[in-house]
């Protein structure tokens, strides 16, 4: 009796994550996918057909026959969209590189700090999460605007004589993204670097390798899984970012997340914006799958080498 119970429970625990995925990922995704093949309508909600339970399966079949891909066709015809995708990928890519360049030394310094200091440093990296993301992006407006803190500071230093226009440019978007996503880069890098076996560097040094060259031959290649994890964690959400380009970017800053937002809330064109979202997901599935693969490989590697 209890054996059967245990077996059932064991199954249930294995299926729990799948159930989770079903409820919180697949179901919403199908709703969005369905929306993307529906038609705009002046109605509440603003599309047709609306899924209802009233008419049973036959009603669903009737709805199914009205589905069409013209929304996707429309995305292809209007250059705004593909330019938006490309520019998003480009901005996300450059931001990821910048985060890596800034985040790596940061994580390295943290991992090499005295053991007692590390929890404090880690805390400082996580601390910004304690305030709302939106508020922190708004704060950047205060820093970057014409009469903002940055310009005041630079004027006071005498480095510039005219206030710089930073806000509402791509530069502001880069600053915003790098700032916001830096912890996602630092944390996996730190986890990796901190775990690295210090005797490997001693061994390298023993074999005639100076510190600089030991870094490039030992530390850097061994930190690859951390670099890859950090880059994906920054790149994937950065592609779809809309708050930062909306608040900090200029009218010329094209990002697909922002286009999606505008379609949804300003144009009230839910089907088109759903199509934009589905396409974005399809574009991101490639890097997500690559990420999964490298994670699996990293786990294999991490099984450890010791006596």
């Amino acid at each position: 009796m209890s054996g059967v119970f245990k077996a059932v429970m064991g199954r249930a625990i294995i299926w729990l994550p799948y159930l989770w995925l079903l409820i919180f990922f697949l179901a919403p995704f199908f709703l969005v996918a369905k929306l993307s093949v529906s038609q705009t309508a002046i109605a509440q909600p603003p599309y047709l057909p609306v899924l209802t339970m009233g008419e049973g399966l036959s009603g669903w079949w009737a709805d199914f026959k009205t589905f069409a891909f013209d929304n996707y066709a429309f995305l292809a015809t209007d250059s705004l969209y593909w330019k938006g995708y490309l520019s998003s990928l480009q901005i996300a890519f450059i931001s990821t590189l910048l985060t890596l360049v800034i985040g790596y030394p940061l994580a390295y310094g943290m991992a090499r700090a005295p053991r007692t200091m590390r929890p404090l440093l880690l805390m400082l990296v996580i601390l910004p999460f304690w305030t709302s993301f939106l508020i922190r992006v708004y704060a950047w407006i205060g820093i970057l605007k014409k009469e903002g803190l940055l310009n005041q500071f630079l004027l006071w230093l005498g480095l510039i004589s005219e206030p710089l226009t930073v806000l509402n440019t791509d530069v502001a978007v880069y600053i915003g993204i790098v700032y916001s996503y830096l912890p996602f880069m630092v944390l996996p890098l730190y986890a990796n670097l901190e775990r690295q076996d210090g005797t490997l560097l001693e061994a390298a040094s023993d074999l005639g390798c100076n510190r600089f060259s030991a870094f490039w031959q030992i530390t850097w290649p061994l930190s690859r899984p951390g670099v890859i994890a950090g880059c994906f964690l920054v790149f994937i959400p950065a592609v779809g970012e809309f708050v930062i380009p909306s608040l900090l970017g200029g009218s010329s800053t094209l990002m697909i997340g922002r286009i999606l937002f505008d379609e949804f809330f300003l144009n009230r064109d839910w089907p088109i914006s759903s199509a934009v979202a589905v396409l974005l997901l399809l574009i991101l599935i490639v890097p997500i799958m690559l990420f999964q693969r490298s994670e699996a490989r990293a786990r294999e590697m991490a099984k450890g080498v010791g006596p």
Binding site: S205, D206, V305, P307
Partner: protein, 404 residues
């Protein structure tokens, strides 16, 4: 150092030497490896010199006021219980630990401030420290590449090293695809590859099976002969230390207890700690009665007189230990000759060990004494068995007195 004559590889181990010593063992010690004893030559400059070296980790003193000289081409073994500071000593020499006080000299030069990568020293790590992202061959080649050695030469050297540790077929594997013993061999090969002036091996052979270990020991001695490398090796295997080392140091709690060649270490330990640490020892408490001409006579609490070598140490008239190795004692049913030390007791336990048999005899005075007898000398038809009354005996030269 002036050219010293090559030593004999695979010289007899301390135990073998000890077994058949008829005349004064002190003489045997003096004759042993006469050809290579730089530590006895007053004008030979040491290759490595520790001067009052102390290493503290916070409140822990890992190495305590240690002074030691090691000579060029010497094979020096460090023995000691876990945590006594062996690894710390090596790490200071290799340059990974700051010295708290004192100094280390290598070929007459103070090593302080010299980074590890500038020291002509290679170390094999106790934890191996193999680079997990590199193949076995690349691990071994690593040090050679840093030197800027030519590609072809590197390939040859790596192949030679792989052959040396019998890993020819594993060059392209990653360390995590190897067994523990194979990793150990790769680590050894990597440290040997650069053929440095000084090699520090921290338990280099511990994970190997007996046969492979003995072969590798032989290879090490051979390498040392061929290349003139000075070796410092940590081991927990006493036989290994005796087999390969010119001198052994026994360490305890950060200090050197005794430094001596294997035979001397075994035959004439200077205190109970070393006597007990290296091999088996029987200790019987007594009080000094008289001392003359290198022989001390002592009396046990039961009133029995025993005579032992005093090694020229003035023992005063306090409490000392009568010490003798199991193989120095003879066991018999008949009472031994009067001039021998004789002890009476009952056989408590017998262990058959292939080549020899060990008897545990409980003396009438209460002490438990071990006797080792070569099986070839045992009467197979009427062997001494459990609970028999027996006599144990040893000549004066077979025993020594320890005051500490």
């Amino acid at each position: 150092m002036p050219s010293s004559p090559p030593k004999q590889a695979g010289a007899p181990s301390g135990k073998a030497e000890a077994g058949g010593s008829k005349p004064s063992t002190a003489k045997a010690v003096a004759n042993f490896r006469k050809s290579f004893q730089p530590w006895l030559e007053p004008d030979t400059a040491p290759f490595i010199e520790f001067r009052n070296v102390t290493k503290r980790y916070g409140a822990v003193t890992a190495v305590d006021q240690l002074s030691l000289s090691i000579f060029e081409r010497e094979f020096f073994a460090l023995l000691g219980p876990s945590g006594c500071g062996k690894t710390t000593l090596m790490r200071m020499l290799a340059g990974f630990e700051e010295i708290s006080s004192g100094a280390i000299y290598l070929a007459g030069e103070d090593l302080s401030g010299v980074p590890p990568y500038r020291r002509p020293v290679n170390m094999m790590f106790q934890s191996y420290a193999l680079f997990p992202h590199m193949s076995v061959a690349n691990n071994i080649a690593f040090g050679l590449k840093q030197e800027g050695m030519a590609k072809g030469e590197i390939t040859d050297r790596v192949a030679a090293m792989l052959a040396l540790v019998k890993m020819q077929d594993f060059g392209s594997r990653k360390p995590d695809q190897l067994s523990g013993g194979q990793r150990q061999r790769v680590a050894l090969a990597r440290s040997l590859a650069k053929q440095p002036k000084l090699l520090l091996l921290d338990e280099p052979l511990g994970a190997l099976d007996r046969k492979l270990r003995e072969e590798t020991q032989f290879e090490l001695v051979d390498l040392q002969e061929k290349l003139g490398i000075t070796f410092m090796i940590v081991t927990h295997d006493q036989e290994e230390a005796m087999t390969v080392a010119d001198r052994i140091a026994v360490m305890n709690a950060g200090k050197l207890v005794q430094v001596a060649p294997p035979v001397e270490m075994y035959e004439r330990p200077t205190n109970r700690y070393v006597a007990d640490f290296l091999g088996d020892i029987n200790l019987i408490a007594g009080r000094v009665k008289s001392q003359s001409k290198g022989v001390v006579t002592l009396e046990t609490p039961a009133g029995q007189r025993l005579r032992a070598n005093d090694d020229g140490v003035d023992l005063g008239n306090g409490n000392v230990w009568f010490a003798t190795r199991p193989e120095k004692l003879a066991i018999s049913r008949a009472k031994p000759a009067a001039k021998l030390n004789a002890l009476e007791g009952e056989v408590w336990d017998i262990a058959y060990l292939g080549g020899q048999t060990t008897y545990k005899v409980r003396l009438d005075s209460g002490e438990m004494v071990k006797v080792a007898v070569l099986n070839a000398t045992i009467d197979a038809h009427d062997p001494i068995t459990w609970e028999e009354r027996v006599w144990l005996s040893c000549p004066t030269e077979g025993a020594f007195a320890l005051s500490a």
